[in-house]
């Protein structure tokens, strides 16, 4: 019992260190995008349908003014309407910004289609979940190593690892891994796994690779694939607790998990998870 207590304590310290590292990382990252957001917010707050314009007939007629109550209005050269939207999109680098998915295969970065990127995310997460289930019973077990040179080879290798792990589970008599509740998948141990990017809407969490893999692996345990909406650029799943979620390649944000319903925790909620 003493031995177990010691191990738990060490694990706790290790998790604290990991949490601190992740928080520091997110803060540094946040500073990088803060300026971009402040510029965006500056533009957004300036735009108001009620904001006064310089009267027609004036050389600057139609332009927005600052609406300064002191009467010392200055001409604001920020655009409105379509121009305003274009300015925002340009600023944020939104839908016009394209991310080409790449994965590491055989030691080199390879460009893949969004569909391949999503299939690789899902099959790898499924393999990882199955492997973790085996190691709970047989900690020394390892799947056979495989060498691949293409993304389809990587996907096939992940599927093979999953099959191998499931077969080993059957041998060990532990062929069923109980799924966690969806809420537990998103807030393991009550921890907030990610952060909200400055400017991002509520409910949008951004997480690092470790957290993304962990969330996706847990979500996929016992989940079955269901048909996706026509416009959805990914795969949709239904969990045993009734939660529906999708995994897709977001044009601007890369790998993303969407939830059909909001998940509320003490002071935050999740309906989307991006990987950064």
């Amino acid at each position: 019992m003493d031995h177990e207590t010691l191990d738990t304590s060490q694990l706790s310290r290790s998790e604290d260190a990991e949490r601190a590292r992740r928080r520091l990382f997110s803060e540094v990252l946040g500073l990088g995008v803060e300026l971009r957001f402040l510029r965006f917010q500056y533009l957004y707050r300036k735009y108001s349908p009620d904001q006064p314009r310089v009267p027609a007939g004036n050389p600057d007629g139609g332009q927005w003014t600052g609406g300064d109550p002191t009467g010392e209005d200055t001409i604001v050269d920020e655009p409105a309407g379509d121009d305003f939207a274009e300015a925002l999109i340009d600023l944020i680098g939104g839908p016009n910004r394209r991310q080409t998915p790449t994965v590491r295969v055989g030691g080199r970065e390879v460009e893949v289609t969004p569909g391949q990127a999503v299939r690789l995310e899902v099959t790898t997460a499924q393999a990882r979940a199955a492997e973790a289930a085996v190691r709970e019973i047989d900690p020394t077990w390892r799947p056979r190593a495989s060498l691949t040179e293409t993304v389809e080879g990587e996907i096939a290798a992940a599927e093979a690892r999953r099959s191998e792990a499931e077969a080993r589970l059957m041998e060990l008599g532990g062929g069923y891994l109980a799924p966690l509740d969806t809420a537990q998948c998103l807030a393991l141990g009550g921890l907030r796994l990610g952060w909200r990017e400055p400017g991002a809407g509520r409910g949008i969490e951004t997480v690092d690779r470790v957290s993304f893999d962990r969330i996706l692996s847990e979500l996929l345990v016992g989940a079955r694939e269901v048909q996706s909406p026509a416009s959805y650029n990914g795969r949709s799943f239904l969990r045993s607790d009734g939660a529906r979620f999708g995994v897709r390649w977001s044009n601007s944000n890369g790998p993303t998990i969407d939830f059909a319903d909001d998940w509320f925790f003490s002071s935050w909620r999740i309906n989307k998870v991006h990987l950064k």
């Binding site: 965006f40 839908p95 969004p114 809407g201 909406p229 959805y232 977001s250 909001d262």
Partner: protein, 146 residues
């Protein structure tokens, strides 16, 4: 509008929340749905009745002002909406705001689903059209090999 209200969840202001919708609709091709706006009004700010309508109107107006247009994704519609874009008159921002809010009120101001009134920009829609076309090609190729 009770602009001084702060979110029960995270202390954010209504301005913060509305700016978040604008950021999201530009930053992600699948856009923002009315369900999030309604949920934020109800759960984060504790609004109901006219105050909730005013908040929803404000969120929709911000999205419509930057060119986002609503559509339904039937498969994830909680309100039973059929698949496709939704049009209101000449689809001016003002008509969209009045049309969407009036419909939602007529439906009884319900909490909505993930696929109800998804606001998507023209750029986002163009990308999603590529997605649909790619899916169609992949399905056709799969049928050919099957």
């Amino acid at each position: 509008m009770k602009n001084e209200l702060r979110s029960r969840l995270d202390g954010g202001t209504m301005d913060d929340y509305v700016a978040g919708y604008v950021h999201e609709v530009i930053d992600d091709e699948i856009g923002v749905n009315l369900a999030s706006i309604v949920s934020d009004g109800r759960r984060s700010f504790g609004l109901e009745g006219d105050d909730l309508v005013a908040y929803v109107r404000r969120g929709v107006a911000a999205l419509a002002a930057i060119g986002a247009r609503p559509e339904h994704w039937e498969m994830y519609s909680r309100a039973g909406h059929l698949d496709g874009p939704v049009h209101y008159g000449a689809d001016t921002p003002e008509e969209i705001v009045e049309g969407v809010v009036a419909e939602w009120i007529a439906e009884g101001m319900p909490d909505l689903g993930w696929g109800d009134y998804r606001f998507i920009t023209a750029e986002g829609r163009a990308y999603l059209d590529e997605v649909v076309e790619r899916k169609r090609r992949e399905a056709a190729a799969s049928d050919d090999h099957g």
